[in-house]
Point group: C2
Chain length 308, copies 2
């Protein structure tokens, strides 16, 4: 059964590390947000792609959620001595990915091909696709001006209040090779438990993606990134508050209602099932907090049971 997932960073990576234990990885395609990609000291960094590949390769740092387990920061410490900004923490092992990718990009290789190469050299068997090969940086319009995403997220710790998001140039971006084909031939589609605005939002904004989701005959299932009115990780809840939305799984389901079939709620949020039903969606309750490997696998199994 061909499964396609839409994925952001840490939450998606956790879910997918469970999913590859339940679904044959060669049947799985992961379409990844690239809106928060950016140049760091001249090197092209793709935070979500890297979090996913490191996690699927078994290299991820479980404490931080980003970066490589056991990584060192010799280069970064030295850059600090040279007077460079070091608020974005890139380790020495991690650095190799960015050096490789940047050199390949400058040589004209697409991000899609580079990502495939990285996966192949890390023993990753599922197909990982960037949502697009174009650069479509997420701009965060805040009460303190417009910020690049990492500037908002890492340097400013999500403190400025969000007014709106924009994905610069997205109207001219094309889906990466394989993205639309994967969606069209999918037998099941899963929206990972990622931030709906800045992780899933950019993917849905790539021309053709949302339309493909609306038109596919495949069942589409989304997993909540909000549990009991709080985001498991990251700024999802804070952004919802900034935008004047109720911090609730239902608010996430509402954002996907035009294409979604099933919304997976946390079992603690069962009381929201009627709200979800009122959106015309099927609700499914499960343990969505992936605090250990067993929980990841359990959630993946529970989601996969939704497909015929």
């Amino acid at each position: 059964m061909k499964i396609v997932t839409l994925a952001g960073g840490v939450g998606a990576a956790k879910f997918l590390s469970g999913l590859v234990r339940v679904v044959p990885p060669e049947d799985l395609t992961v379409i990844v947000n690239t809106g928060d990609d950016f140049y760091w000291m001249g090197l092209y960094v793709c935070p979500d792609l890297d979090t996913l590949t490191y996690t699927l390769a078994g290299l991820a740092n479980p404490q931080t959620g980003w970066g490589v387990r056991g990584d060192t920061f010799q280069a970064l410490d030295r850059l600090k001595i040279l007077g460079c900004d070091t608020w974005f923490r890139i380790g020495d092992i991690d650095l190799a990915t960015h050096i490789y990718r940047t050199e390949q990009l400058h040589g004209g290789t697409s991000l899609t091909k580079i990502t495939r190469h990285i996966c192949q050299h890390n023993g990753i068997l599922c197909r990982v696709l960037p949502m697009t090969d174009s650069s479509v940086p997420t701009l965060v319009h805040t009460d303190d001006g417009t910020l690049l995403f990492q500037d908002y997220f890492v340097r400013r710790h999500c403190e400025p209040s969000v007014i709106d998001f924009a994905f610069h140039g997205i109207e001219k971006a094309e889906p990466a090779a394989g993205v639309l084909e994967a969606l069209e031939s999918a037998q099941g589609i899963i929206i990972c438990p990622s931030n709906p605005f800045i992780s899933i939002g950019p993917i849905l904004a790539v021309p053709g993606v949302r339309e493909a989701l609306r038109e596919t005959p495949a069942k589409i299932v989304a997993i909540t990134p909000i549990i009991a009115g709080e985001s498991v990780k990251g700024p999802t809840a804070a952004i919802m508050e900034n935008l004047g939305l109720k911090v609730s799984a239902t608010s996430v389901a509402t954002l996907y209602r035009d294409f979604l079939d099933v919304f997976v709620l946390d079992h603690r949020d069962r009381r929201l099932e009627t709200e979800i039903a009122a959106l015309g969606l099927k609700a499914h309750a499960a343990r969505t907090l992936m605090d250990c490997e067993a929980a990841r696998i359990e959630l993946a199994k529970s989601v996969m049971e939704l497909f015929p």
Copy 2:
């Protein structure tokens, strides 16, 4: 007394680390070969500049002569896993220099300014100037075709026989800001014990440099890189053999005879004094093997005594 030196990598770095103990560093300008600079994985590496600055900053690895003491190779090991060539060994701390420099170069900052910044952030008080801000890669014409310098030197271990050298684009290169001024106002000039073909040769080939040396009233002293018919380090002797030259300090002196005043021989080569004199140069014998810090300081003192 204003002293200007022409410098390559390891041999020059050893001598200069002694010289800064003898001469007030603020009176010292070092003009450095950039012919072996090259792009490595998209990062601009300047081997001689870095060997010098690491040595003067007290960071150099005394075992290898290149790189940083105690450096790790986490990024390089990871690049190997990603399928990249790793015959050029760049450590994690070293990497920071190249990342910083490349980003600055791409932003339009000159190599001269970047080098000044690196020196300032490493407590280096003498003035270190690249010979030029232009890229003038050393091409090695060999019996096995034309090779880029690092390809010949590191990857091929100097095995192909050298026919000739060329410094690509040097006829259009300009000396870096300060180079000609330093030479014109120098009260003493020292050619470091570096390879005359691939370290000092490129500096002399920068338009205006050799002419400035011929015309300066300052005394010019060169230190031999050849002791008792052997090069202390690196391929100087092998190159001399390839080119059909006698492997002798006298052959080096001959290459500089049009501008040189004094040639510093190793004390073991005193018998060559008459050959040096026959070139119209003054010979001076000294212990030139810098196998410890005391020897570096002694040699620097011995050379400085040659200036009035």
